[in-house]
Symmetry: C2
Subunit: 308 residues, 2 copies
């Protein structure tokens, strides 16, 4: 028997379409319904046969669904919540895949009936690509799926959603929404902001031409451009909806950077060296924790390697 | 006939040992001599058969060499220059592989006889690994080798060194040392400093545990840890010896980051979105320029992917 009788996915971009593929591959639903407001996505969604039914209206899409998954940019949640709230099935679960979690309660709680289980979730997985074509079923394999239910949420509904993510190949972690937002601010949100920022700084230089930046990008810059190529709408919404945690981590980052800047200005080689040795150890711990392969240059071809 | 009769490499870490492998593979020298002051490197250098002769003294290592390549951290150049200067062969070429170039003239010119060609060079290639074991001959394939000769340097000596790098598989670019230092400050040095810094910031957090940082590193942070795992001595010397350009680019970076921080604080979604769209274009140009594969996640296994 399928885990959920009917599942509806709102938004079939990279993440939504990967979930759809995973649901079909693992027979998690008897019926899989999809909805996406982007006119350009309609043809690829059909061509890829991602869902059993592609709905024209968001309200009909969620009808009778046992699990509704929001996989749109977070900024659309309020509007979507207002539209679908009264159409959600009694006893069903409403979840999402956004990179911020506390804001999900703020945006959806006003619209969700008491007899619907609201369980925000965040699969820590993705690529810098976007759209239904970019998805693949193994996207979530061996990645973390973080669930952030409220304290009074029905444990049976939480367990069922955990099972859902485990079936897609993920390891599930439960934590409070606020804590999630702090952890992700430092492991994901601030790194993305910094990557966007350095690429922007390089873009605006006068003394160094853009073609030189591109030509000699193998020096480290190139890796930042990959991170900074992620979905702009999604990331705008992340920063707007995890403002406090991002600003706090950013403040610490800037403080630390000022200290490094000062060490360079005063030629304090020992301070620089000590810092660079400390950070090297963290890399080793990440590899040991199985979160990364110990392959140099992300396993790029040897004739396409990184710079020093 | 070999391009150079006798070549000496001082320092057989990642870069020096890769050059040694490339010289042997392409028969660029009749005799290849090596020297490394690190006692721990002696056995691997011999075991890997990297050079024809492994010298015990740096002065005997450079004797009669037609090309001497410094592949040590830049901070050692003054000491090395003082030691080998009077032992260099008349008409020979002294070059290096350091990531900063103007400082090379400052450190070596006082020690190098007028009849020796000093031609600083920088192969824009490398990995986050260190040591003689980490090298490989194809490291320089399709990568840039930047030569920064002084204006009055003998063009024949420059041509010969260009030929050397082309034989190792590189594309050669000639530019002024000062300009090199500005280009690399933005494409390499500041990105590395930022990567070191964010990893350090994460390390020092109290509210988020180190194990959480490691566990959820796939969110973007992981890529920074790879960059921040590079050779600490080498990078200390880069920042100490490209101080002006790094401080200038860092100033611009911080200014831009403050603007982004302000956009987040005031919830200026349009400013964030415009910035994120602009940076996405640069990524495309880098891929179009052949400096990167269009493979998501650096071609990581699909079950070991990046986060959003």
């Amino acid at each position: 028997m399928a885990l959920y009788s009917k599942i509806t996915i709102i938004g079939l971009g990279l993440i939504g379409s990967s979930i759809a593929r995973g649901i079909k591959e693992n027979n998690i639903a008897e019926t899989l319904v999809g909805y996406d407001s982007n006119p350009e996505y309609q043809d690829p969604i059909k061509a890829l046969n991602l869902v059993d039914e592609l709905a024209n209206e968001i309200t009909t899409a969620v009808k009778d669904a046992d699990l509704v998954i929001l996989a749109t940019p977070v900024g659309a949640y309020s509007t979507i919540g207002a539209a679908i709230g009264s159409h959600l099935k009694k006893g069903s679960t409403l979840t999402d895949v956004g990179s911020v979690k506390a804001a999900v309660f703020d945006m959806l709680t006003p619209h969700v009936p008491k007899d619907v289980h609201l369980i925000p979730a965040h699969p820590v997985a993705g690529t810098e690509q976007s759209g239904p074509d970019a998805g693949f079923a193994s996207l979530f394999h061996d990645r973390w799926a973080i669930l952030t239910p409220a304290e009074d949420t029905d444990p049976l509904a939480v367990n069922k959603l955990s099972k859902f993510w485990e079936t897609l190949g993920s390891d599930v972690e439960i934590m409070k929404a606020d804590h999630h937002d702090k952890v992700l601010a430092i492991t994901s949100h601030v790194p993305h902001l910094i990557a966007y920022n350095i690429v922007g700084t390089a873009h605006d230089l006068e003394e160094v031409t853009k073609s030189e930046v591109i030509k000699f990008s193998a020096g480290g810059f190139r890796d930042f451009t990959r991170i900074a190529a992620s979905n702009p709408t999604m990331w705008r919404d992340v920063f707007l909806n995890n403002k406090e945690a991002v600003l706090e981590m950013l403040g610490r980052f800037s403080e630390d950077l000022t200290a490094l800047q000062r060490a360079i200005r005063w030629e304090d080689g020992d301070a620089l060296y000590d810092m660079f040795v400390k950070t090297r150890r963290i890399r080793k711990q990440i590899i040991d924790a199985g979160q990364e392969d110990d392959v140099e240059n992300f396993g790029r071809r040897h004739d396409d390697v990184e710079t020093e």
